[in-house]
């Protein structure tokens, strides 16, 4: 049997938040590695470039093609520099995977105005700015494109992280709207809603008990990882998903398919 073609052969991808905030593999790192493994050339963008270099090393170890770039996605000029860099280095842009994100706990009473603005800027506005800067280059590249935004199941349900929930719900609405706006340019825009995955972003506030609680919270009772989110991103980025746009795909071991009281008593969610 002939070897199957790679799933992203000939494509150029930009991954924001391509490094992980600690040891292990987060959503952006996993997506970057999978994109490169399937033949894409990947621009690895991170606020802390040394983190993106770890991802780069892993891609180089597999013989993939990628490079790093420092960038602050809350600044439009950095986003524009990012898109231009991808064009300069690789000649085109086909895929933008928006991974940048931070956690933010608290009720509206507890959260400071400053923290509210910060989470909305980092989790939502960065997608707007990165997309604003990149879409014209995707159109100029002439092959259509795919944008993947990382939302969260916290955008679908209360999650005892009110500012985070609001920002991630915003990502879903933004995705629907961007999908409608840019369908005529053959740019597909979809989002993924990861469930309680264990990634470097959440690791600092975890302990063994909490990891077990989170694992048991969803019907499958398995611990999700950045790879689970990465494989979903790979599918949505590839031409296999060429007729999919404007969707929100939960990757959550069934958590949002269940009545909230069944596995995740809302009054216990502060434990997350």
């Amino acid at each position: 049997m002939a070897e199957r073609p790679l799933r992203l052969e000939g494509k150029v991808a930009i991954v924001t938040g391509a490094g992980s905030s600690g040891e292990g593999v987060g959503n952006g790192k996993a997506a970057s590695i999978l994109f490169a493994r399937e033949g894409a050339k990947v621009l690895l963008v991170d606020f802390q470039e040394d983190r993106a270099r770890e991802t780069l090393q892993m891609i180089h170890d597999e013989g993939g093609v990628a490079s790093t770039l420092q960038g602050d996605m809350t600044k439009l000029e950095d986003c524009e520099r990012m898109a231009e860099t991808a064009m300069e280095r690789y000649g085109r842009v086909d895929i933008l995977d928006n991974n940048v994100g931070i956690s933010q706990r608290g009720t509206v009473v507890e959260v400071s105005e400053e923290d509210w603005d910060k989470v909305m800027t980092v989790n939502l506005k960065t997608i707007v700015l990165a997309s604003k800067a990149t879409i014209p280059h995707i159109i100029a590249s002439g092959g259509g494109g795919a944008i993947i935004n990382i939302s969260s199941i916290a955008g679908l349900r209360a999650h005892s992280s009110t500012p985070y929930t609001a920002s991630k719900a915003g990502v879903i609405g933004l995705t629907f709207s961007m999908a409608a706006d840019h369908a005529a340019d053959s740019i597909r825009v979809n989002c993924i809603a990861p469930g309680l995955v264990y990634t470097p972003m959440v690791a600092p506030r975890m302990n063994d008990d909490l990891r077990q609680y989170r694992t048991d919270a969803a019907p499958l009772k398995t611990e999700g990882t950045g790879w689970d989110v990465g494989y979903a991103a790979l599918f949505l980025a590839s031409d296999e998903a060429r007729w999919i746009t404007g969707i929100c795909l939960p990757v959550d071991a069934g958590l949002t398919a269940v009545h909230p009281g069944t596995f995740t008593p809302m009054n216990q969610q502060t434990r997350y």
Binding site: R4, S186, E240, G254, A257
Partner: protein
């Protein structure tokens, strides 16, 4: 290969989306039992694919047919890992125009058929240590459309929520259950509607990506859900509709 070593049953596998899935699954390393009431087309397809596919007559409303399909998969290929509940029929008309007989016919094939297939497959999947069930619902299981029919929409809505019920009940056995929601696809089932140019124009105007879907557009989504790449995905709805329901 993404389905190496896996054994699948695809209902309604003789033509359209099911047939494309059968060929794609085998290309990705699976063995496939193609079940359908369309016997000539199913046999021809299985013959074309070769020894990794086998056709069996499967009326999805028949408990005996489902038992035979599961037995065939296990006898011939050793186990069962994947079930695609793809068989379905369409219908048009208003509630007042719909006879009880036609309501029952559509609900039996589209909804009860998914229940019977799932029930028949679960014991063997449990023995295999887990599995993946993909139920083909429709965008019309999510949103209403005047040109459809009450029984079609009700049946596809039933598939949507049945999927979540099954996902929760069998998660502990490692069995994942997800639904796929295609928009209008170029298949034999949609031929009548597509032959009316005015209707087709209206349909396309509602699809942001500006065209009907093809069988392969759905089949690759089904492949993702069948494979271990989606091992953390259950109870989810994968919408494949060119952006229709995002608007």
């Amino acid at each position: 290969m993404r389905l190496a070593g896996k054994v699948a049953i695809i209902s309604g596998g003789s033509r359209g989306m099911g047939a494309y899935e059968a060929e794609l699954f085998v290309r990705e390393g699976a063995k496939v039992v193609v079940g359908d009431v369309l016997e000539d087309e199913g046999r021809n397809l299985a013959e074309k694919i070769g020894e990794d596919a086998f056709f069996l007559r499967l009326d999805v409303t028949s408990e005996a047919d489902w038992a035979a399909a599961v037995k065939l998969a296990v006898d011939r290929y050793g186990k069962l890992d994947v079930l695609v509940n793809n068989a379905g029929v369409s219908a048009r008309g208003t509630i007042e125009e719909t006879s009880v007989a036609d309501w029952d016919r559509v609900m039996d094939i589209n909804a009860k058929g998914v229940f019977l297939g799932t029930r028949a497959a679960i014991p063997e999947m449990r023995k295999a240590g887990g599995g993946s069930i993909i139920n083909i619902s429709s965008q019309l299981g999510l949103v209403g459309m005047g040109e459809s029919s009450p029984q079609y929409q009700a049946s596809k809505g039933a598939v949507r929520i049945f999927t979540k019920s099954a996902a929760i009940q069998y998660a502990a056995d490692g069995i994942r259950v997800n639904s796929v929601h295609p928009g209008p696809i170029v298949t034999p089932m949609t031929e009548t509607r597509r032959s009316d140019a005015a209707v087709q124009q209206v349909m396309i105007s509602r699809i942001p990506l500006g065209r009907y879907g093809e069988s392969e557009d759905v089949a690759y989504g089904v492949l993702y859900l069948a494979s271990d790449e989606s091992s953390f995905v259950t109870g989810s709805e994968l919408v494949i509709d060119g952006g229709w329901t995002a608007q």
